[in-house]
Symmetry: C3
């Protein structure tokens, strides 16, 4: 059983961070809220999402799994405006999700979740932790776009840097310690990532969000941030590319 009311923008925030990696996803629902773990088809990136029931205007649920085609939720969101309340309810008999926005009712078949196993989220401990406003990361990505397919994340005791290097050109964003929300750095670290994945992840994060990045040497990066007005958390994990120089 699942029955909830949620603000349009809250639902949009949830869908945005997940649809960056997968088209269909299994949402685990119980009396406390909603959670989801998913890996992209190429097994390069992972999302680990937890939303407390307090993020919803109303929330009532037994333990259940909802297999959802995220594009269909986006279609419904396009019918709503910020501030609109969206009603979601599971129709267990017909294995459907019923969504109401204003006078519009949308019914959609739930996706079969057999074979959608929850990936194990690795417990990693990394030597550097950089907290920064998402706008800064967006700027760094925009600068890197025409230069290369990769982006290096670098942390030192002095600050954080994003570098993209091509054959003739390079672009970098350098943030000294005072421009960061916080910086812990036990040793100098540098890891290289596929720009398209990193860019899509950063774009899914709302402007004005503080993103905490855990960085190592040639190691996955972990991005942690809050969504749903602080009632939910997202962890993104992205596998590194090994530098060939």
């Amino acid at each position: 059983m699942f029955q909830a009311k949620v603000k349009s923008e809250t639902l949009k925030g949830i869908v945005d961070v997940v649809s960056t990696l997968v088209d269909e996803a299994k949402f685990n629902v119980n009396a406390k809220g909603v959670s989801l773990k998913a890996v992209d088809p190429a097994h390069v990136a992972m999302v680990d999402l937890k939303i407390d029931k307090s993020a919803f205007e109303e929330f009532a649920a037994d333990e259940t799994e909802l297999g959802i085609d995220l594009d269909k939720i986006k279609e419904v969101l396009r019918l709503s405006r910020a501030g609109d309340i969206i009603t979601l309810s599971q129709d267990e008999d017909k294995n459907r999700l019923v969504i109401n926005v204003g006078n519009v009712t949308r019914r959609m078949n739930l996706v079969d979740t057999t074979g959608m196993s929850d990936p194990k989220v690795p417990n990693i401990s990394l030597p550097a932790k950089v907290a920064v406003n998402s706008e800064e990361l967006q700027k760094g990505i925009k600068a890197a776009e025409s230069i290369s397919d990769h982006i290096a994340l670098i942390a030192t005791a002095e600050g954080f840097e994003m570098i993209s290097e091509g054959d003739t050109d390079s672009a970098s964003l350098k943030l000294t310690k005072d421009m960061l929300v916080s910086l812990e750095c036990k040793e100098n670290v540098r890891s290289l990532f596929p720009l398209d994945y990193f860019s899509n992840m950063i774009r899914a994060i709302p402007s004005g969000t503080v993103v905490s990045m855990s960085i190592g040497n040639d190691y996955p990066v972990k991005l942690e941030f809050a969504i749903a007005d602080g009632k939910g958390t997202v962890d993104y994990l992205l596998a590194p590319r090994i530098e060939s120089d």
Copy 2:
């Protein structure tokens, strides 16, 4: 002879409702105003337009026919802003329409109207009449778009519903009697229509317009609404699709 001045937005409203169905059209002009009847190339839909001369800032005409390429009028409209006055005059010697917007003069050959006969508008009487704000219809269409190629219009004594049903999903807009401008319904009716035609018609209607829909059972729908600040009327007729269930 035809010579008129008209507000940019009034001319745009006229062109929008007609160009939804045809690229070229024959406008019948006389001393009282302008009228037009046209059927789309697939003979699925019809438009019946009447504009009183009072919709124009200035208007002087003898009985004449003007064959007009509507795309060319749209090009001229793109040179103008709301509130601009557009001058139209027939150059009978050269069989041209001369249009002035500000300092720009556009001359265009009139289209040959031989063979553009006025279609007969059927006089239909239908058991249900629903008057509703065009925004509501726009919402219903947007919801239906990704679901199916058809949309059903349903009226009962309780209200009006638009339903689109696909293989796995459905979308509906339900408006109870109190959400409608008016409702007359002698019997429950339902007709199915091609979504693309219905959608294009609804999109051609300015927001904030009250649309009166006459609906029957597996019968054409008639949409009536005012344009040109109430100085003109449009009737759209759309043929039904027969339901196969």
Copy 3:
């Protein structure tokens, strides 16, 4: 040596007028400022640009040539907002241009300028000179777009006209003397130009700019206007098409 700070919008204005004709350009820099002369690949149009060092917030340079890929400057401009200060500095050792916008650093290889000779700007004296606001020219171009590939510029003692004539349609913009900033016209003149070139040039001129056009009979047109808040000047020259009627 070249080292400068410049407002984002000033740099954008410079790049816009040059990139209309060429993708890569040789900027001649000396202690007094920056200049550039370039011909488009088809040798139909020419740009002659002079920017005084006072157009820059800071400026220090020895005589040098900078071969620049203008698309790369546009990418950097997309990272900035109006009012942002952009720092440009030549890295002579690596033959690079280093650009800073906020915390972003972009390094780009300079383009080889061997073979980029400065074209000679012909010294032409023409019988008519028309000064007009760039918005008016933009309107005339928009009106001409769907009519023909050519546009005629006409000046008489009474005013200025832009005419585009197709097989069935024509569009013209007519400005009487009182609608012009100034008009000197010793004899009636008319020249025909390729619309795409003329249109691209006019679009590169900021709105609200007074453009001085020198026009002859079947002769190149010269467009002169100020950029960089009056601290720079641009001359465009465009070759005529010979009329076949």
